[in-house]
Assembly symmetry: C2
Homo-oligomer: 360 residues x 2
């Protein structure tokens, strides 16, 4: 009998450290307070909460406060106009005859998003750049360029700054996203705020979180859970033997620009998985007004890939897959007939609300 439960295998993932507004909103930990459900035993009403349907926490409240104040505050006199503001991975802008642009900002704060004993400075620069570009990839756009605001502690040497810059430059090279400017401040902790502009291909529109339709498949492009396993291994201080791929996934993620472009003309909605599959699926479900059903059977290969790391860390592979973030995979929806080769089907879109796990 197929059973469905909202994040049934999950344990609390910890407080979300980062919450996006506007260009990228709703990345908080999902609500796991609801009772277990199964398709046979329980009725599922639209009003009931399920995993991923209601982001929580202080950052989420902060965004709601700001959204209310900022959303209707002003209108530009420029010809380039916002088409989409607060509520997706990136804002969307268009000029009368220019290309459609997507635009995001992402922050990386020492002691909050990273620790320097877990990452080299090259890793820090790389990660910050890929994390920001991932928002552009999730909109089905290609990066145009980036700017970076750096806060540098006085203890950082010129050689260390070079390492940071080399990480940014290597990421910029891989992503074809030149860093064309920025700003440097002094401050007690190392911080990067990276803003990226992207361009939607001609005759295409930006992919948003809001287009999923009942009947669509749910697609995963990339890995989930590996980066979380790597981070937890570093956190736990366990030997990293056999966990190299996980640690590398966390230290050197890859924004999936090519995959995002491959979704153009095929996907109905898309989001990048930075907070975990359930959390980000919840944002997509909410924005689209649908239910997303994760099928455990179809997650099989994902779980197999996580099995060894899960054992080493004393966690379940399913937990890592459902709640582990920062792999920057893409989660998309679309009709089966239009599924691109890069996409692995892991579930389906139904009428309703929330994120559901269908077990065998």
């Amino acid at each position: 009998m197929a059973r469905r439960s909202p994040g049934r295998a999950a344990t609390p993932r910890g407080r979300s450290q980062d919450e996006r507004a506007g260009a990228s909103v709703e990345r908080s930990g999902a609500d796991r307070s609801s009772a277990r459900r199964s398709r046979a035993g329980g009725s599922r009403s639209a009003g009931e909460r399920s995993a991923g349907s209601a982001p929580r926490g202080r950052e989420w409240q902060s965004i709601e406060v700001l959204r209310g104040l900022l959303a209707t505050a002003s209108t530009s006199h420029a010809r380039t106009r916002p088409l989409l503001g607060i509520g997706d991975d990136a804002a969307i802008l268009a000029a009368p005859r220019g290309p459609t642009l997507v635009w995001t900002i992402d922050g990386s704060v020492e002691g909050v998003h990273f620790r320097r004993d877990w990452l080299s400075l090259q890793d820090v620069g790389w990660r910050a750049t890929h994390a920001a570009v991932s928002d552009v990839a999730a909109m089905g756009a290609r990066p145009v360029a980036a700017l970076c605001h750096l806060v540098l502690p006085s203890t950082l040497t010129a050689a260390e700054l070079k390492q940071l810059g080399r990480g940014q430059a290597a990421a910029a090279q891989e992503l074809a996203c030149p860093v064309i400017g920025g700003n440097v401040s002094s401050g007690p902790r190392l911080e990067l705020a990276t803003t990226v502009l992207g361009e939607v291909p001609p005759r295409r529109v930006a992919l948003t979180r809001g287009g999923a339709r009942p009947g669509d498949e749910l697609w995963l492009l990339g890995d989930v859970g590996l980066a979380a396993a790597g981070q937890r291994a570093l956190q736990a201080g366990v030997s990293l033997r056999g966990l190299g791929a996980c640690v590398a996934a966390w230290r050197r993620p890859h924004a999936r620009v090519t995959d995002g472009l491959a979704l153009q003309g095929r996907a109905t909605a898309c989001i990048d998985v930075s907070d975990g599959l359930v959390g980000d699926a919840g944002h997509l479900a909410r924005a689209s007004g649908v239910a997303l059903v994760l099928e455990q059977e179809r997650l099989g290969p994902v779980l197999v890939a996580l099995a060894g790391a899960a054992r080493r860390l004393g966690r379940s592979a399913l937990e890592l897959a459902l709640w582990g973030g920062e792999d920057y995979a893409l989660l998309a929806t679309g009709p089966t007939s239009r599924r691109p080769a890069e996409a692995r089907p892991i579930g389906k879109v139904e009428a309703g609300a929330g994120v559901w796990l269908e077990t065998d």
Copy 2:
């Protein structure tokens, strides 16, 4: 006899807290190490340093390190292309048929750029937004929209966050620059990184720092020295009686978007005065490969406006005018015949290098 000296009335302004790369570079304190010069008594060779010609300090070195690493690191595959990268107030981008865009990022860090006992949270939001938009104004562009990355300390209440958002919203309203998205993180100190896109009017080009020509006039649009007087009054803890205008100038600066647009078709170069007249004139002189001569006589009305505050603070009005930053005036160059009504002539452009003060 007209005498010229590089920043002769100046005292050290203190270490620059903020240094811009790329979108906005070279805002460090100017070099004041050179000897006094006068037009009659000393020869001025191109190789000699003068005030404002060589930004210094750690931030400046940081930018040079990053510029070398990032400038040639990659090329975008998008149609929207960077026309100007590291080295001006903002980067410049253009698509084949789209409008020319300018793009900047600016940071505001508690304990570095502001103290919360000197500013209300509304002021903090207002200042951060105006400071970022000022870079767009200096390029002769109108703002399109902004994104903001916020780092919020856990002690910040929802009511306090609302105050911050209200300051941003009020600035957005005044500037016709909607804040359409962003990102929220937790962290120990309040920080804002604001990125702004601007659009150059049709059939115009962005104003840069690099177009000043010998024979041009030097123009000032807006006040200088008032904000520095206000900040120093707060810093010194003196009574603010009679200093209200100065404190307001520091707490609530105004990006001069209308003035920037008025310079279109008239100015040959432009920069915003965030680090002080001598410092920013130095950046413009260097980018243009010219000497800028400030004429003390023409600064008369500026100095009169600063006289009262200077007395109260035990400083000279000339010092405040030359070295006080954060008023966000615009400093531009252009032919006398094309000087807009908003511009006050304060000097001239000559062949050579550096910034010079011509006394009566």
